[in-house]
């Protein structure tokens, strides 16, 4: 079943530079897709067009049968509850406790007043603890987030997105500020989300090797154009050279031959 359909998407922040040009692809439910490309290639913009954190200029994004670009405020809010988002800098509220940050993920389902006065149900709280348990940070539930390590904070971010019970999780360079060990843990969790909960994941990544080993499919972005779209094993050095604009390096050729 097609969950996300991006059709001829175009975006420009000013008249001179077009960040995205005629981008089209589809994502199935439960699929793990990596988007790779240089900084400034348009990865973050593409991700933010899907949940309309930036406005869509040209083309359409269809999420779960809804045309994202034409939703009104109320409908957009409702749609966003189905899309979790994970950020490079975790984007938690550092002064609040872990559990409070996790429960922020439920705000989309609440009225303004319920949200402001913390009217969370017992079920939601239990769900939050269940997720923290699963992610191995239940011991830190009442700690302030700024006392946690980067890897732990990112796990809080994952818990916050999962408590939304989303159909899709967008990850904007989730491991770019983490050490290799924590990166592996985070990527393993993301992979298990797609496998166990059948939630689709679209992940912006810098590391080609990690993208290849974790994702079902890779989309290569260069200067706002899709230059590669296919299963991970089809990605060759010629493709990465095109994506990253590097000249083919002799040694790399030798390895592939």
């Amino acid at each position: 079943m097609t969950l996300v359909e991006v059709k001829n998407l175009g975006k420009s922040y000013n008249a001179q530079t077009r960040v995205l040009k005629d981008v089209s692809f589809e994502v199935e439910a439960g699929e793990f897709v990596s988007i790779i490309g240089l900084s400034g290639a348009g990865k973050s913009t593409l991700l933010r067009c899907i949940n309309r954190m930036v406005e869509i200029d040209e083309g359409n994004v269809i999420f779960d049968g809804l045309d994202v670009g034409s939703l009104n405020k109320q409908e957009l809010r409702k749609m966003r509850t189905n899309i979790g988002m994970i950020f490079q800098h975790y984007n938690l509220v550092p002064r609040l406790s872990v559990i409070e940050n996790v429960l922020h993920g439920r705000l989309g389902y609440k009225t303004t007043l319920q949200g402001v006065f913390n009217r969370f149900t017992e079920l939601e709280k239990e769900h939050a603890f269940f997720l923290l348990e699963k992610l191995g940070i239940a011991d830190h539930a009442y700690k302030r987030c700024d006392q946690l390590s980067g890897g732990q904070q990112q796990r809080v971010g994952i818990a916050r997105s999962l408590i939304q019970e989303p159909k899709l999780v967008l990850c904007d360079e989730p491991i770019a500020s983490l050490d290799p060990n924590s990166s592996e843990i985070i990527m393993d969790y993301l992979k298990s989300i797609t496998k166990e909960l059948n939630i689709a994941c679209i992940v912006n990544l810098h590391q080609v090797e990690i993208a290849c080993s974790y994702s079902d499919r890779i989309i290569g972005l260069s200067k706002g154009n899709v230059v590669f779209d296919g299963p991970s094993f089809m990605l060759t050095s010629a493709h990465t050279d095109e994506i990253y604009g590097t000249k083919t390096v002799e040694t790399r050729k030798l390895v592939t031959v």
Binding site: R80, F87, Y90, L92, V116, R160
Partner: protein
């Protein structure tokens, strides 16, 4: 050789700068008819006068309860002006900040109010308001209120912009409403910084309240003015002393609070 040349160049630069400063000082004092030698010469006399006249005698200490009553009035007025200004500034700050602003028109409006209120000194506000409200504590309160409003709005805009951008983005992505974002991300994150600014504003307002009180005839400023004009210098000394002590106490208290919350 090279080093020598550099040193002599440095020397010349210093000489030229000193000469320029001297010329400017001379020109400035010539234009304003200010004689610096005369000024320094009268310094000993002035200090002698201060020590012989501005002393607190036991007689004036009898006036202390009255003075303290006035002081309390001034402090309470400063706190009232600050707290009410805080409420309005919070809304203006949310409107003016790039992270939480909803429309550019409201943003410009908030910034405009802030800069008008802030760029006119509190004393000028007191004089302007004096014309319409007359000599009473309302005028003093309003003058402090307007000054605080301008300053706090500016401070809140900066605080909100700086502290909460990333968390606001995350909550927007979960489908939160505007006020959920404000109460769950912006305020928790900015609160310590905001309280710090509010405490600073209370300190500043107690200082300005004295000056404003002289103009509007209220609070400790009025006592100061009264004793000064009736040549009761030892009472003036007592008032000054009380103001200094209270400002120091308030400052120590707010430093303490800051340490705890930050």
């Amino acid at each position: 050789m090279n080093e020598k040349a550099m040193r002599s160049q440095r020397k010349w630069q210093t000489i030229i700068w000193v000469a320029i400063i001297l010329v400017f000082t001379y020109l400035a004092s010539d234009i304003t008819n200010f004689n610096i030698i005369h000024g320094i010469a009268t310094l000993p006399n002035a200090i002698t006068w201060i020590f012989s006249n501005l002393t607190i005698t036991s007689e004036t200490l009898e006036r202390l309860p009255k003075i303290l009553e006035k002081l309390a009035e001034t402090i309470l007025m400063s706190i009232a002006a600050t707290t009410t200004a805080t409420i309005f500034s919070l809304f203006l700050g949310l409107m003016g900040s790039k992270t939480t602003g909803t429309s550019s028109v409201l943003g410009v409006f908030a910034r405009f109010i802030a800069s008008v209120a802030r760029n006119i000194p509190v004393v000028a506000w007191a004089l302007i308001l004096l014309l319409s409200f007359g000599q009473n504590s309302m005028t003093g309160y309003l003058a402090l209120f307007v000054g605080s409003l301008g300053f706090l709005t500016r401070a809140f805009i900066e605080t909100i912009d700086e502290a909460s951008h990333s968390a606001v983005e995350a909550l927007r992505a979960t489908g939160s409403t505007y006020f959920q974002i404000v109460f769950k991300a912006v305020i928790p994150q900015c609160l310590p910084q905001m309280i710090s600014w509010i405490l600073f504003m209370i300190e500043t307002n107690i200082r300005s309240a004295t000056l404003v009180g002289i103009l509007t005839g209220t609070g400790i400023g009025y006592s100061f003015d009264l004793y000064y004009k009736t040549l009761n210098y030892s009472a003036v000394a007592l008032v000054t002393f009380v103001i200094v002590i209270s400002v120091i106490i308030i400052e120590l208290m707010s430093n303490r609070i800051r340490k705890v919350i930050l």
